[in-house]
């Protein structure tokens, strides 16, 4: 690498060649060179805005207002009302992330070639990213609410007698998670798919594989690691759901997610150690899910797929 490009220094011109390489060469061999300075802003950022608050919170969670260091954790798990927020959140985040990934695959698969209007379709699919949760919630209330267009059309067609309840409950939050999470999943899957060399499928075709066999035996196995990563990312996004759980959900009941529990501890009871403990539990659950998915990912081929990256 950079070893060969270094200009010889004064001492290397001396007659006996040194037994050990110059310290600069040895450092360069380990990837240590002047460009390392470029990492400083990012490192500073990580330390100040992530590591410090994290360890502060971690420390705080072990200093409850009363009881031993683990008493806030014990309190969370012994209270069914609190404990159930884990299942509520997982019940929202896992299906939503799964749907986002699964729905992205056929659309991205269809869209990976070049065709007229591709840019327009991509923009339409990705626009929800720019909306933000609050605007999405507003839209959902207008569209799916008891007097929204959706129910008006249904009752206009005499398909239903009573409006179907699709907001202020589980489904409102679920739709909101899908609308905001899908564009991320789609863009990621599309880029993973275009990293797979299209001649592989052509080769499979000449060997007698129909389109479903080509997809199932060639494209899907090569795409699986990408799908696992995409799942993890959309899952994390969905797991920390807060605004939509309040705005289009039922924050006191069926969509009382774990971040609401943390919020209430911090800003309604002003019990920061308890809130920190809940936040730590939240992070731990995310880690467990990600670890499981990434472990499953290692069972697939993760090497080069010969595409254009």
């Amino acid at each position: 690498m950079s070893v060969t490009t270094r200009t010889p220094t004064a001492e290397s011109a001396g007659p006996p060649p040194p037994a050990r390489a110059h310290w600069q060469h040895r450092l360069a061999e380990r990837g240590v060179d002047r460009h390392l300075w470029l990492l400083t802003p990012a490192l500073l950022f990580v330390v100040l805005l992530f590591l410090y608050p994290f360890f502060y919170g971690l420390g705080l969670s072990f200093q409850p207002t009363e009881g031993g260091p683990f008493s806030d954790y014990a309190r969370f798990f012994s209270d069914a009302y609190q404990r159930d927020t884990i299942w509520t959140t997982l019940g929202l985040a896992l299906p939503a992330a799964l749907l986002n990934v699964v729905a992205s695959v056929p659309i991205a698969y269809r869209m990976r070639g070049r065709f007229r209007g591709k840019r327009l379709v991509t923009i339409l699919l990705v626009v929800p990213i720019t909306l933000g949760t609050v605007l999405t919630a507003q839209g959902l209330l207008n569209f799916l609410g008891p007097t929204g267009w959706f129910n008006r059309v249904l009752s206009g067609l005499h398909l239903t007698d009573e409006p179907i309840r699709l907001v202020h409950n589980y489904w409102g939050v679920f739709f909101s998670l899908v609308i905001t999470g899908f564009p991320f999943a789609f863009l990621l899957v599309l880029s993973y798919l275009s990293g797979i060399d299209p001649t592989l499928e052509r080769a499979a075709a000449t060997l007698g594989a129909g389109w479903w066999q080509r997809f199932r035996m060639i494209t899907l196995p090569l795409l699986m690691p990408g799908l696992a990563t995409t799942f993890c990312l959309t899952f994390v996004l969905a797991f920390s759901v807060f605004p939509s759980a309040v705005l289009v959900g039922n924050p006191a009941g069926e969509t009382r997610v774990i971040s609401i529990a943390a919020y209430q501890a911090a800003y309604e009871q002003y019990d920061y150690p308890y809130a920190s403990a809940i936040a730590m539990i939240m992070g731990l659950i995310e880690l467990v899910v990600i670890a499981v998915v990434l472990f499953a990912r290692t069972r697939f081929y993760t090497g080069s797929t010969g595409g254009k990256g």
């Binding site: 001649t199 052509r202 075709a205 000449t206 060997l207 066999q213 090497g303």
Partner: protein, 379 residues
């Protein structure tokens, strides 16, 4: 299910054409391939060779024409129903499958019994001598080994036709020669019908029974290696077949069988290929190995020149000489010549081919400028 697996006696391409936008990538290809034949499609990069092959394989729809397997029309069949084997330029091995699984893939698609799949896969692995690597992933193999897997994967199905798209172009020179022999050996021992695409005239000449020379999507000439080597149909083919000396000259006299041409006082006699008349601008083509260096007095077609560049090539020297009028002459000789030597070159009139010039275009100064940029869109 396995529609195309049975052999045919003849494969006919009738007016096969393919357009991309307003650009003809392939135009009116008429070709009849007999069973067991080895046909090479030859031409510079971008001339439509891959397009032709992809049309045959069913990977590209035709814009005009038809393809017939005996009396059955096959250009409307999808690739998986044609039963042709294909070897891609970048091999296109399935990276997540072992060598063995790659080779067995086509057999599994045919839903053959398990033990037959095992038997035929083993056989194919042996055929390409990869017994020691059967369990590895393609990424763990060298280029030549990957190439052999690609060939084994295509031939294990005993396809009625094998298509190869520049299969050797990613290999180094020594391996290329070895694999060339191997491909020919496989072709002979399995009796395969093969269509082979290459831009390397030497490769095509050594492998094929019949050559199809393409240029800008059109067929220039179809013939045996011998025919193409000695009697190119036009100067483009000559250029491609190793006639490195191409001079634009003017016809003085044209009698039947011979023609006299002139440029800046230099007069040469040669054989006309195509209609030439006195006064025409023509292109004179001579192979470097047909230019002789004569010490003694001149005979016909004597050209005084000065040696300018000499390249050592083992038994022979390749040299470039310049005539008094400034024309460059490429030659090969076993005599020791050195830069600066004054020599008299001579050319056998039978080996000096006189082609009618293109009406519009003049000969490009450098053969490289005639090569169309490869877009890299289709294999």
């Amino acid at each position: 299910m396995t529609a195309g697996a049975k052999a045919f006696s003849q494969l006919r391409l009738e007016g096969v054409s393919r357009r991309f936008g307003g650009h003809d990538a392939l135009r009116d290809l008429d070709l009849t391939i007999e069973a067991g034949e080895f046909v090479a499609l030859l031409g510079p990069s971008g001339c439509g060779k891959s397009t032709a092959l992809n049309c045959l394989a069913g990977l590209l729809p035709l814009t005009a024409g038809s393809i017939w397997q005996d009396e059955r029309r096959i250009d409307t069949l999808p690739p998986e129903r044609r039963g042709f084997g294909m070897v891609f330029q970048n091999y296109a091995l399935f990276p997540h499958m072992s060598v063995r699984a790659n080779i067995a893939f086509g057999l599994r698609m045919r839903r053959l019994p398990k033990d037959e799949i095992r038997r035929r896969t083993d056989e194919a692995v042996r055929l390409v001598r990869l017994e020691d690597h059967a369990g590895k992933l393609p990424g763990q193999l060298s280029g030549g080994q990957q190439q052999r897997v690609a060939i084994a994967r295509a031939v294990v199905l005993e396809p009625s036709l094998v298509l190869m798209d520049e299969p050797l172009s990613n290999l180094d020179a020594k391996l290329r020669l070895e694999m060339r022999t191997e491909i020919r050996r496989l072709h002979q021992s399995l009796g395969l019908t093969t269509v082979y695409v290459t831009h390397d005239q030497e490769e095509a000449l050594s492998l094929a029974d019949r050559l199809v020379v393409l240029r800008e999507g059109r067929v220039q000439q179809i013939g045996s290696p011998e025919e193409l080597h000695t009697r190119p149909a036009n100067w483009h083919v000559a250029d491609f077949m190793g006639y490195r000396n191409l001079w634009t000259m003017r016809v003085r006299e044209a009698a039947d069988g011979t023609v006299a041409v002139e440029l800046d006082g230099l007069r040469l006699v040669g054989v006309p290929v195509g209609p030439v008349a006195p006064g025409d601008e023509v292109i004179v083509a001579v192979r470097p190995e047909d230019v002789r260096v004569d010490q003694a007095g001149a005979t016909t077609n004597a050209v005084p020149a000065q040696i300018e560049v000499v390249e050592y090539q083992g038994r022979e020297l390749a040299a470039e000489a310049v005539t008094a009028a400034g024309s460059r002459v490429h030659l090969r000789t076993d005599q020791r010549v050195a830069p600066g030597d004054q020599v008299t070159l001579s050319i056998d009139p039978q080996r000096l081919l006189v082609f009618p010039g293109d009406a519009a275009a003049t000969r490009p100064a450098d053969p490289a400028t005639a090569v169309v940029e490869e877009p890299g869109l289709v294999g």
